[in-house]
């Protein structure tokens, strides 16, 4: 499922037009993105939480040339699945071990 599919389903289930559903879904993800940009934590009850983690810089190597390169410090978003969703996802067992 992609964002367009999500918009369609939201529109079907809530009786809002596709156009309005698009504004709503876009605003939702934009707001989450803005929040992460500010380094804020996002908590969605029943779904999960997002945090921004800081990673220090280090000296890495270009695997092709062996050259030493400076990897600068960076921030990465990290998603922690909520307990409820984690259990829901796991209710459908993998087909084979």
């Amino acid at each position: 499922m992609n964002k367009a599919d999500l918009i369609t389903r939201v529109s079907e289930r809530t009786n809002v037009t596709q156009k309005v559903a698009k504004v709503i879904v876009d605003t939702l993800f934009n707001k989450m993105k803005e929040s992460l940009q500010k380094g804020e934590r996002i908590e969605i009850r029943g779904f999960g939480s997002f945090v921004v983690r800081n990673y220090g810089g280090y000296k890495g190597r270009n695997p092709k040339t062996g050259e030493v390169v400076d990897v600068p410090p960076k921030k990465l978003p990290f998603f922690k699945v909520g307990k409820e969703l984690k259990e829901l996802v796991n209710t459908v067992k993998p087909q084979e071990g």
Partner: protein, 102 residues
């Protein structure tokens, strides 16, 4: 931030009551949860992908007691942030005031 902040942002853009917006936001997360539970991945361009992965059974260890245990096969949900989101988070204009250090 929580759902309330998302509801507020949407409320400012559409002509619905906060109660109606809250219901729609709830529906969005419900649809995503159902999809991840029954089917598979969700790709949100500009944000990231939610991916369900099947994990096989494997031997593990209870870190507290050191006992050998069997970890049952399971399905787990992971989030892979998009390049756009990663770039946005690392853009310099945001003040580094947070204490969300690992």
């Amino acid at each position: 931030m929580t759902k309330i902040d998302i509801i507020e942002a949407i409320y400012e853009k559409v002509g619905f009551s906060k109660k109606e917006v809250a219901k729609i936001v709830e529906t969005i997360f419900d649809i995503m949860k159902e999809h991840l539970t029954r089917e598979d991945k969700i790709k949100i361009s500009g944000f990231g992908n939610f991916v369900v992965r099947n994990k096989r059974a494997r031997r593990g260890r209870n870190p507290q007691t050191g006992d050998d245990i069997q970890i049952t096969p399971r399905r787990i949900l992971t989030f892979k942030p998009s390049q756009v989101l990663k770039a946005a988070i690392n853009r310099k204009e945001t003040p580094p005031s947070e204490s969300s250090q690992v």
